[in-house]
C-alpha cells in the first residue's frame, strides 16, 4: 500500500508521522519547496531504526512520486494570515489544488483523495471536478478533527478516558460545525444523562473555537497534532478497509436535503473511500444549523465560479 501526502507543512508532516507509526503503508511526501519534503522524509528515516518503521518514506518536489498511490492526502496550500483577503487565499489554493488534481488523476487514478486544504468544502469540489474521480473517492477531513476535540473536552470534564467518548458532528469546519449532542455518548450513555445542558453548551462552544484557542496560544501558526492524527485515522480506515463511521465532508446527492455540494456528514469509510453516507434524524435546531452551514459552503462555491470565469 502507498500513501502520498501533498504538502510537507506542519499538518502534512505530522500526518506522515502518525501514518508511519502505524506501519501500514509506504509514504511519499511531495512539496514544491525545494528540499523541504526530502529533509522531513530524511528526518523520519533517521528515526526508523528506533521506531521500527517498516514502510519506505520518501520526499520529493516531483509529482511523479505520487505514481500508484492508494491514498492521496491533499494538505498543500497557504494558510490565511491576518489581513489577507479571503479571495486571494481562495484563488491561490484553488490554483494549487487544480495542479495537484491533474497530477493525481494521471498518476494515481485509483486513489482515494482526502482533502485537508482550506476552504475545505470548496477545495474538495475542485479536486472532484479536476480529477474526474468517482464521487466516493474524494472526501474532506474536518469532522474527525472537530469530533476528536469535542470528545477530548468531554473526557477532560468527566475525568474519564477519551477513547470512551463517542461524538458526532455535522456541517462545516470550526464555527460552522453542528455538534449532535443527541448522538454523543460516554461508554454508550447519552451525554445528557451525565452533564447538565449548560456544561454541554460550554463544551460545544469550546469545540467550535478549538482551532482558534490553539492559534491564540501559539501566537504564530496553528494546530497540527490533532489534524495530523485525524488524517492518519482516515487513511488507516481506507488502507485497512475498516468501514469506520466518521463525520467527513462528502459530496451530497440529496442526502440531508442537499445536492451538489460538499458538506460534513456521517460516512462509512473503507477501501473505496466513502462507502456509504449515513442519514440521521435531526432536531429542528440541528437542521437549521446544518442549513446555515450549507449556505456558507454554497457561497464559497459561488466564489469558485467567479474564479473560473476570470
Amino acid at each position: 500500500m502507498k500513501v502520498a501526502v501533498i504538502g510537507a507543512g506542519n499538518v502534512g508532516a505530522k500526518a506522515v508521522y502518525y501514518i508511519a507509526e502505524k506501519n501500514i503503508a509506504d509514504i511519499v511526501m511531495v512539496d514544491v519547496v525545494d528540499g523541504l519534503a526530502r529533509a522531513k522524509a530524511l528526518d523520519f528515516l533517521h528515526a526508523a531504526p528506533v521506531r521500527g518503521y517498516e514502510g519506505k518514506i520518501r520526499g520529493s518536489t516531483d509529482f511523479a512520486e505520487v505514481e500508484g498511490s492508494d491514498v492521496v492526502v491533499m494538505t498543500a496550500g497557504i494558510a490565511r494570515k491576518p489581513g489577507m483577503d479571503r479571495m486571494d487565499l481562495l484563488k491561490t489554493n484553488v490554483g494549487i489544488a487544480r495542479q495537484a488534481a491533474r497530477e493525481i488523476a494521471r498518476r494515481a487514478p485509483n486513489a482515494v483523495v482526502i482533502v485537508v486544504t482550506n476552504p475545505l468544502d470548496v477545495i474538495a469540489m475542485v479536486m472532484l471536478r479536476e480529477t474526474g474521480f468517482a464521487l466516493r473517492k474524494v472526501v474532506g477531513m474536518a469532522g474527525v478533527l472537530d469530533s476528536t476535540r469535542f470528545r477530548y473536552f468531554i473526557a477532560e470534564k468527566l475525568g474519564i478516558w477519551p477513547g470512551d467518548v463517542q461524538a458526532m458532528v455535522l456541517g462545516g469546519h470550526g464555527d460552522e460545525m453542528v455538534p449532535l449532542t443527541g448522538y454523543t455518548s460516554v461508554g454508550g450513555i447519552p451525554i445528557g444523562q451525565l452533564l447538565d445542558p449548560a456544561s454541554i453548551e460550554a463544551l460545544v462552544t469550546r469545540t467550535r473555537t478549538g482551532g482558534a484557542e490553539i492559534v491564540s496560544l501559539l501566537k504564530s501558526g496553528s494546530a497540527f497534532y490533532a489534524p495530523g492524527a485525524s488524517v492518519a485515522k482516515m487513511v488507516e480506515a481506507v488502507i485497512k478497509n475498516e468501514k469506520r463511521l466518521f463525520p467527513a465532508s462528502a459530496f451530497l446527492r440529496g442526502e440531508y436535503g442537499f445536492s451538489d455540494i460538499y458538506l460534513g456528514v456521517p460516512v462509512i469509510m473503507g477501501r473505496n473511500g466513502v462507502e456509504r453516507i449515513v442519514e440521521l434524524p435531526l432536531t429542528e435546531a440541528e437542521r437549521s444549523a446544518l442549513e446555515a452551514s450549507a449556505r456558507a459552503v454554497k457561497k464559497g462555491l459561488d466564489e469558485l465560479a467567479g474564479i473560473q470565469e476570470g
Partner: protein, 319 residues
Amino acid sequence: MSRVSIVGGGNVGANAGFFIAEKGVTDVLLVDIQQGLSRGKMLDIMEAAPIRRYRNTLAGSDSLSDIEGSQIVVIAAGAIRSPGMRREDLYTVNAGLIRNLAPQIARLAPQSTVIVATEPVDSLTTLFFQQSGMPRARVLGLGGILDSTRLRVLIARELDVSTEIVSAIVIGRHSDDMICLPRYCSVSGVPLPHLLAPERIAAIVEETRTAGDLVVEMAKRSSSYYAPSAAVAELADSIHMNLNRIFPVSIVLDGEYGVTGAALSLPAVIGEKGVARVLTPELTPQEKEVFMESARKIDAAVKGDARGARAGGAAGGAS
C-alpha cells in the same frame, strides 16, 4: 514494574498472561497448584519475547504466597462448564475455592484490585467481597464486559463496520437474564436503533445471550477463554495506567437501582483505585425489575451456600 498475579494456570489465566505480555503493561505472575504447570506456560510465552519484543517479565509459581504485594490479582481458577451445563451449576464447587482464596488474597495483597473470572461470576464476586473484607471498589467480576464485547462483535458484523467504533452496554447478571441495552449501544455515537431494524436488534440480543453457551458447545472440552482473557488484560491496563476507561463489570451494589449486597454488572469507570465510579443509565421499569430479580437470585445462591458451607478446596488448576 507493577505486577498482575493470576491465580489459576488454565486457559483463561495463561492467555490473560499472554495478552498482558502483548500490551507490555505489567509483570505477570501465574500461580497454579499443579507443580510446574504455570512455570511451563510462562516460560513458553517468555521464549517468544525476543520476537514479540516483550518488555515485561512473566513468571510462574506453585505457591499462592508469591502473589504478595501485587497491584492486581485475577482469580481464574476453578471448574469450568461442560456442554449443557449452566454457569450457576458451578457455584457449589467453585464457592469452596473462593472461600479458601479470599482471606489469603486479602492478607497477601491487601492493596490490590481483584478481578474474579471464575463462574458463576456474580455470585462468586459477591462471595469474595463478603469473605475477603476488601472494599467493594476493589473487587470486580468479569461479567458484562464479556457480554458487551460479544454484542459489539455481532453489531459490527451485522452493519459491516469496524468493531472498534461500536460501543455496547450489557448489564445485570452474566447469565441468560443479562440485560442488553440496545438504545445505549452506538456506532461512533449514533444509537443502534437509528441503524438497525427492531427485529434485527432482537435477533442480535438473543444471539448475545447464548454466545458463551455456543462456544462451550462447539469447543466441547473447553469454555471460552480468548475473550475473557483479553478482557482481563484490558481491565488490568486501565487499572495499572489509571486510564479511567468505562467497562461493564460486576460490582457489589450499594443502592444502585435500589439493590444492595449482590454483585451485578453496571458500567464502571476503572482506574488505579479499582472502580472509581459506577454509572447508572436510565432504565425502564421492566429492565429494573429484571435487574432486581437477578439480584435476588444472587442473594439466594450466596445465602444458601452460607448455610451449607464447608471448607473449600485449594487454588485449583482447572482450565
